[in-house]
Subunit: 89 residues, 5 copies
Amino acid sequence: MYIGKVIGTVVATRKDEKLVGTKLMIIQPLNMELKPIGEHLIAVDTVGAGIGELVIFAKGTAARIAARKMDSPIDISIVGIIDEMDVHE
Amino acid sequence: MYIGKVIGTVVATRKDEKLVGTKLMIIQPLNMELKPIGEHLIAVDTVGAGIGELVIFAKGTAARIAARKMDSPIDISIVGIIDEMDVHE
Amino acid sequence: MYIGKVIGTVVATRKDEKLVGTKLMIIQPLNMELKPIGEHLIAVDTVGAGIGELVIFAKGTAARIAARKMDSPIDISIVGIIDEMDVHE
Amino acid sequence: MYIGKVIGTVVATRKDEKLVGTKLMIIQPLNMELKPIGEHLIAVDTVGAGIGELVIFAKGTAARIAARKMDSPIDISIVGIIDEMDVHE
Amino acid sequence: MYIGKVIGTVVATRKDEKLVGTKLMIIQPLNMELKPIGEHLIAVDTVGAGIGELVIFAKGTAARIAARKMDSPIDISIVGIIDEMDVHE
């Protein structure tokens, strides 16, 4: 899984019917020092994540599993909200 | 899922028979500031996206799910047309 | 899917038996301006692509679907030969 | 599979129920000279790896297989602890 | 699939039981000019590849197919040993 921050939402009225009812959030992937890395992504929220929250997200089949929608075209989902990261370098 | 812009089409008469009848669009992946990131991709359109439109695309099995063609060699599909992106940095 | 150019072939006599009989082609991934991007790949040809041809290739399960060999260790296949790319920047 | 070092843990009380009970570790991917490469990842530990240990991790379906949780939104798991790497350049 | 060179081995006594008995090799991915690209990987050998040999490797489900171990946490496998690469730039 990956670390990210929820930084926005996407509105798309014309979309796959299996995406109707899902919350499409924009995520900025982060490294552990909370620095932005890589490209912005669109993830389905499955745990009630809000704007600005640090989250855990998963890709591929894991994303459909999280959304409990195996027949939907989802390939990235938020699967947890980070309370704390303990780093021991 | 990912943010992209439809910037062209591909014509390929000699192709896998399971791709016959699909609309092959060229996509420029974008970040949220609509800046180009990464390489051009070829996606199957499943929502009627036109040239110049901002779209949501998915990869892997999700792409076949979107195309409703699980037995086709599709690994990227357009699954939504973006109306709006609300960013809260 | 992705844009590429066939630039060579690979000979490997000691290989997985399920790869026997497949044409292993070397592909240079390209962007839409036909500039090289990313690393060379090895793809199974499924549409009769020749050296120098511009092709469409797919990755993962889609590659096995294209090769009609779901039980083979294939993860990249050529699925189409590009006649034309119309770009509308 | 990939080489990594366990450098921390993640606490996330609000998460997918199928992740409850898993140990979420932060991994720094490494190359063979043990130099950091790429972004930090979150992996489920399945072999009792501790902080500072060099590990082998796998991605995608392999990660769910390792966790023996095919119905969970896991896409990265630790699958081994490295005793030794013999390099013959 | 991808081009690589076997440059070492990994010893990991504490690992997933389904990996017991597999040969874990360290691979340096290469481009066609045999220049190193990307990060070192760990692959299961399925064709008797030795140190220094140029190999073909596959990722994801294809890797488990090559190892004939669909229930093992393998996501990269060596699937062929390269005899020759004919390049026609």
